[in-house]
């Protein structure tokens, strides 16, 4: 039994082409500038005005672009390959191009590893840093706990903390933003 029937199936309640053509002829003979007819599975729009129904142009070609999808929270790719024999986590503090419009001069301190974020060494004490704190590259700013192992996070930049992004007990993935820091102005940047 023929499975694929190339011509349009008669089992739908939709108008036939002949009926549509008849309707179109009627409308065309009339005085209407615009017609918009919608039914489930069917829509007819006509206009005497060019561009009356401009819609988003469909993609010219179905093939995917060569660009990979933009990751939701990826750090900027490092230019140099990271040595594979460096298992010790080190915090990354990188200017993040994609947030440039929001806070062009801020530096982000990101999680060096997946784990649980803690802003203080123990529950009863003060946080390592707060908004307004000044940090140097080797300042410990937080702890990321992985399987009961406490990994101190160093600022790896110097400046003033302007935002604490993560909260105590948060699961943070690698690369997730923990703090934003207004960096010290480097001497060669003064002249900008």
């Amino acid at each position: 039994m023929a499975a694929a029937n190339p011509t349009s199936s008669p089992e739908q309640d939709l108008p036939t082409w002949a009926e549509i053509a008849e309707l179109v002829a009627k409308l065309d003979a009339g005085t209407f500038a615009d017609v918009d007819l919608q039914m489930p599975g069917f829509r007819l729009r006509m206009s005497t005005t060019p561009d009356a129904f401009t819609e988003q142009a469909p993609a010219a070609r179905p093939r995917a672009s060569a660009e990979p999808p933009v990751p939701t929270a990826a750090p900027a790719p490092a230019a140099a390959p990271v040595p594979t024999d460096a298992p010790e986590p080190t915090a990354t503090a990188t200017p993040r191009p994609h947030s440039a419009t929001l806070s062009s001069d801020l530096v982000e301190i990101t999680a060096p590893i997946l784990g649980t974020f803690y802003s203080k060494p123990s529950p009863d004490v003060e946080p390592f840093v707060e908004v307004g704190s000044t940090v140097a590259a080797d300042t410990t700013v937080a702890i990321v706990e992985v399987m009961k192992l406490m990994n101190p996070v160093s600022a790896n930049t110097s400046g003033r903390v302007v935002e604490v992004v993560a909260s105590d007990g948060d699961l943070v993935e690698f690369g997730q933003v923990l703090f934003r820091v207004a960096p010290d102005v480097a001497p060669d940047e003064v002249t900008r």
Binding site: A3, T7, P10, Q12, R61
Partner: protein, 462 residues
Amino acid sequence: MTAVLIANRGEIAVRVVAACRRLGLTPVVAVSDADRDSLAAQLADRAICVGPAPAPSSYLRAELMVEAALATGATLLHPGYGFLSEQPALAEACEDNGIAFVGPRPDSLRAVGDKASARAVAEKAGVPVAPGAVVLDETSAVRAAREIGFPLLVKAVHGGGGRGITLVRDESELVKVLPVAAAEAQAGFGNGALYLERFYAAARHVEVQVFGDGEGGVAVLGERDCSVQRRHQKLIEECPAPGLSLATRDLLRTSAARLVEQLRYRGAGTVEFVLDTESTADPQTIVFLEMNARIQVEHPVTEEAYGVDLVAAQLRLALGEPHGLPDDPPEPAVHVLECRLNAEDPYAGFRPAPGRITRVTFPRGPGIRIESHVYEGYLLPPYYDSLLGKVIVRARNRVEAIDAMLAAVRATEINGVTTTAPLHEFVLAHPDFRASAVETRWLDTVWPPASASGTVSKGHAA
């Protein structure tokens, strides 16, 4: 390099491209204006635009296809299924122009091309046929009907694809239906001839995959059950056909083989039977339904069950080589299912839902095969059928195959169009289907499920 003109579109055009690649042939695909960006066009070595989008101006014009083959230097022409695939005119035009038509000879196409002659050939070959008769007028119809018995089917002799068939319960209904059916047959198929046939209320659709060498030799590659149908349109197919006795299988296969031998049939074909599930004899009652003289949509279930490439075999035969299929292969130790995913709304009368595909994810993994022509960004054109693709799953037995298929359908994501996936999930999870083969009228008794259609009505009113 030998070039093959693919005179078709959609998933079967992609499938033929794959078979060409397997044999090192050069695939050239004939496209309509709407299919210039089709996947087949992308995968083939060349696409040639033969006409505008409507099929009557492109895919249904034999002379354009032959012209396209000649223009591109193709020496083979594969017609796919549907469209011109069973038109003797195309096969003849190929012959006349030195192009090898990848299909049966024109005389075979004619012999099985309408119900009356197909039935005659089957009877001659000793294939069981249903009680029935061609009728010329009301008098002959009533006389024939009394002999056949009610209920019976009124069919257009030149109909196909499940169209042009009316069920009639008694004589008064028959008298009313006859003129209408004749007029519809005239309008739909260009010929008002009608045929009455015994109606089997509890029937399964079982078909045999055959492959003839053109000289009377025949390879028989088992049965498929295609009983999950909606208004004679197949939705799920499987191989082997479940629950058949050895004697019934043997009757099906020898009947099919006899028909192929009788025709000295060339290439891939399917002999379709109605199996009367109310018959308690062994073998069960089977009657010849029709012969499809082409590759079929559901050919992959046989391929996966038997480990063969039917389309490559078609091409090999057309090249003048041995087709390479086993004449009498061992029974498969696997069970294979196929689900056809259509761009239709199964909750709204299966209304076609063409549109732009925004996202496609097909399932992966062992035993899963996908045959599809859709991709992300593809605009499913409104001119042709609504098939989006076929999910084929192979597992060690029927239950495992059903479970694997259910998971595969659930893991299939085709966004941008409405699909029939919910129907497939429903059937695959249904106890009736899981227990055994169903009857051809089964689906209409369970779909749409009462709750679902209620929900949808509300949705439309909102």
